[in-house]
């Protein structure tokens, strides 16, 4: 049995060890880069979102009638001579499989990959019963020999180097093996495992699909080991989760095409897809037939399929993408980013399948960068479910953590909140030594926070400056409300000033309703939904959507929160739900407003300076805005220098960077390395949170690269009219 530290401090120590493992860092970085490129190639010209929606539809339909599909499957499979079992939990599934082996007199078992068997720790159980189990997927065999669990759903031994594999295989074979000869290592496995296949009397496989109308299971592999597992031994047991049921082959083929493309191995189909139904011919079986069993595992799935929120998690088709694209996974790997199931889906499923203790520290380890959500072929809103899971964990704590209670109390009271922010200026003043950044943080921050300098809270927030700044527009044709957000209002009011300069003379009446407060995202990120709801109501009161054509934000995070979360938070709230939707419909980010609404021409002027761009997660994925900022950069006369990981998170994640500073720092470091490699003098982005992180990191490096909010970058162009 594995255990993942329930204590945050222990878990962080584990993460630090992973960050120090240079080989792991290198392999994972290479994996992430390759995966990004392959995804781009594989999905070029395909409408990924539409395909994912279709998969989601098929899965949702199937999940809504699991008992019915199960009965149908059972009937069809049994008509073909197979035996179908339903195990209520892990213990029962283990028992059923061991009993099958005993009854049939089987001793030597071969297995192909099955995450479900990992879930129930099947090998441990069978071995304790005196049975011999050999994993036959190369990666699974390697980790079995090492006594580990998989670190990735598709590539279980991705955390190991060829040197480590060569050492291991040398020990197994008693021969000295050359680590540089990977083909030779694969050959060793081929030879050794061929023996195991030929002498096995029982084969255990997983299954990717269970077709209700025919009682067939579908298995996807590259190596072909599942074909041998299901053919050579006289008994075959397929262990599958109930959520693998789909109505028919057509549904399965639709899912298959996306599953395989999405595994990131860059192929449109995997090597082998095998469909098996009934007791097929088998020369060594009784009556020349295979003894065939299908064991379905419930283990909470039926209940989960009826959960209004979490049923979505059962759509998962185990493609591994949510790990592949996750910036945290890319730094620490699966053994440190999951329990049995890893990656984003692992953070959720650990709670449901392996309990609160194993999920407790783990589930907090998410930046909410939305990369997993955008890559999930089943359209699962993973970051949202992660926060919801964290909420469940929190609700079961004997006491809510002090920082949660404090946040809730302060955020709900705007006056108190703003009073505290103003006070922060006075506290920080001596530390800043007259600068706008604090390089040496006071002791209570802890050393690990020192990876970035922190900004000084503005002497006068935007709300105090507003009366002098706002100038009436002669004949406004657009009424726009500015949603400031805490960072713009209290830390970076100059970003709003830049906006005002840019709007001058463009017929826009810009209001800044002073009763507005924090958007509420920080509360949601700490799973304080009630608080998020209360501030949402305050903001709706302050900002009547009917009075404005647009609600403009300079902060991508506030923007995507208002657009996506506000309606969800206030769903069903009398009177407010309508307003929340109206407001959400009017939210627009700065770049889109400039390019798509005002239609700025490439004549703003500009210096021709070389600028790299950082795409904020909540802009490029949260709001789906990708084109406008790059156009605006060019329109403002910059020479735009692209790089590969433009859309990868900067590691900020709000309070995440305080909870997991080492990871935040490591992710930031990769980002800044890439930016530096472009040779740009400027780094432009359109979210004040990203500005904070990027500027702080560059300052610690003493880098000359300047970070600007897109509004500042565009306004600077006004000062340098084009010749």
């Amino acid at each position: 049995m594995r255990s993942t530290p329930a204590d945050s401090r222990q878990y962080r120590a584990q993460l630090r060890r992973a960050l120090d493992n240079q080989f792991l860092r290198q392999t994972l970085a290479g994996f992430a880069a390759r995966n990004r490129q392959q995804r781009a190639e594989t999905f070029a010209g395909l409408d990924f979102a539409a395909l994912a929606q279709e998969v989601a539809r098929i899965k949702d339909d199937s999940l809504s009638r699991l008992p019915e599909l199960y009965q149908q499957f059972k009937q069809a499979a049994e008509a073909g001579g197979a035996q179908v079992h339903l195990a209520a939990d892990a213990a029962e599934a283990n028992r059923i499989i061991a009993d099958i082996a005993k009854k049939a007199g089987c001793q030597r078992l071969v297995k192909s990959k099955s995450m479900t068997s990992e879930e129930i720790f099947l090998n441990d159980y069978l071995e304790a019963q005196g049975l011999t189990v050999t994993e036959t997927d190369l990666g699974e065999w390697i980790i079995q020999l090492r006594g580990e669990g998989p670190s990735h759903m598709i590539a279980p031994a991705i955390h190991l180097s060829r040197q480590e594999v060569a050492q291991l295989f040398s020990r197994v074979t008693g021969r000295e093996l050359d680590p540089q000869n990977v083909e030779g290592l694969v050959e060793v496995a081929r030879q050794e495992l061929r023996q195991a296949f030929l002498s096995a009397d029982m084969g255990i496989s997983g299954g990717n699909f269970c077709l209700a109308d025919s009682g067939a299971i579908g298995i996807v592999t590259n190596e072909g080991n599942a074909r041998l597992v299901t053919t050579l031994p006289r008994v075959h047991v397929a262990l599958v989760g109930l959520e693998k049921l789909v109505p028919d082959l057509g549904s399965a083929l639709t899912i298959l095409s996306l599953l395989v493309r999405n595994t990131g191995m860059g192929q449109p189909i995997s090597g082998y897809v095998t469909w098996i139904s009934g007791a097929v011919p088998c020369a060594t079986g009784a009556d020349g037939r295979k003894e065939m069993h299908v064991v379905f595992l419930d283990n909470g799935r039926l209940a989960l399929s009826q959960d209004p929120v979490f049923k979505e998690a059962l759509r998962c088709i185990r493609c591994g993408s949510c790990a592949n694209v996750c910036p945290i996974y890319a730094k620490v790997g699966g053994h440190n980013y999951g329990h049995v199931y890893i990656g984003a889906i692992g953070l959720i499923l650990t709670y449901f399948y392996h309990g609160r203790e194993n999920a407790r520290a783990l589930v907090k380890n998410c930046l909410n960068c939305q990369a997993c959500k955008a890559a999930c072929p089943a359209g699962i809103d993973l970051p949202r479910l992660i926060k919801k899971t964290a909420g469940l964990v929190l609700a079961q704590e004997p006491r809510r953590p002090a920082k949660n209670r404090l946040l809730a109390a302060v955020l709900k009271n705007r006056r108190l909140f703003h009073f505290l922010l103003r006070r922060a200026y006075l506290t920080q003043k001596p530390l800043a030594r007259g600068e706008r950044l604090i390089r040496h943080l006071p002791f209570f921050f802890g050393r690990e926070q020192g990876f970035r300098s922190l900004p000084v809270v503005a002497r006068r927030p935007l709300r105090d400056r507003w009366p002098e700044l706002a100038r009436p527009e002669a004949k406004p044709h657009l009424r726009v409300a500015l949603f400031g957000g805490c960072l713009v209002d209290f830390v970076y009011p100059e970003q709003a000033e830049a906006l005002l300069r840019l709007l001058r003379g463009r017929g826009v009446r810009l209001d800044y309703p002073l009763e507005q407060t924090c958007c509420g995202l920080p509360a949601l990120m700490m799973s304080e939904e009630e608080t998020a709801r209360e501030v949402a109501v305050q903001n709706l009161r302050a900002l009547d959507p009917a009075e404005h054509d647009y609600v403009l934000t300079l902060c991508a995070s506030c923007g995507s929160h208002l657009k996506e979360n506000l309606p969800r938070l206030l769903e069903g709230a009398a009177g407010l739900a309508v307003q929340a939707r109206q407001l959400a419909g009017k939210v627009i980010d700065f770049s889109s407003f400039m390019v798509d609404v005002l239609g700025v021409e490439p004549a703003l002027g500009g210096s021709g300076a070389q600028a790299a761009y950082h795409a904020p997660c909540h802009l490029c994925r949260g709001l789906g805005v990708q084109r406008a900022p790059r156009e605006l950069l060019r329109a403002a006369g910059y020479q735009y220098l692209p790089y590969a990981e433009e859309e990868v998170c900067c590691g900020f994640g709000g309070s995440y960077s305080l909870e997991f500073p080492e990871l935040s720092a490591a992710i930031l470091e990769s980002k800044l390395d890439q930016v530096a490699a472009t040779g740009a003098e400027l780094l432009v982005t359109d979210c004040p949170g990203c500005v904070l992180q990027l500027r702080g990191g560059l300052d610690q490096r003493r880098s000359p690269i300047q970070v600007l909010h897109m509004a500042e970058a565009a306004a600077a162009a006004l000062d340098k009219p084009r010749a």
Binding site: G80, A155, D213, G224, P268, I269, I276, S277, G278
Partner: protein, 184 residues
Amino acid sequence: MRLESLQDQFQQRIAVVGGRAQTVPDLEAALGYVVRLTQELGGRTLAAPGWGQAELERIQAVGQQAGLEVFSQGLRAQAKNIFCGFTPADWGVAQTGTLVIDSLNEDLRLATMLSEVHVAVLPAARLRPDLPSLQDELGGILQRPQAYLAMITGPSRTGDIELILTMGAHGPRQVHVLILEAAA
């Protein structure tokens, strides 16, 4: 889609995953190919299940003439001794370079799994653009009480060590598809 373009596409796609496909005029040509290939690679046996009586007799005659041992059934007994699997294929999928083989016959399965090299013969008329266009046929096969349906795309491979794509993990190290031209 025109037949030739399906053939072209199939050839391109299977090449991407490390397989090979080419057209042959008739079974005799296919036999010539498989015998040559087996000899070149130093193999001594041919496992040829799944053929009709007349075809099998030709395979045996040509194989034996070339000094190859030919098996067509009871392949379990030869499990360690199968060099080249020579089998018919039921369909080809152009979009992905995939072979679809109804493999209920256990010997057919073993020949395509245990061989070092798999050579499949695919009638050109059985090429289809994509998997969904085969949905009805395949769904029909799965409706039978027992079914073992194999979709095979290229040689057996793995990326499990440092993601380095390596051929011949468990199944055939090479897959050759001989497309029997329409007239045949």
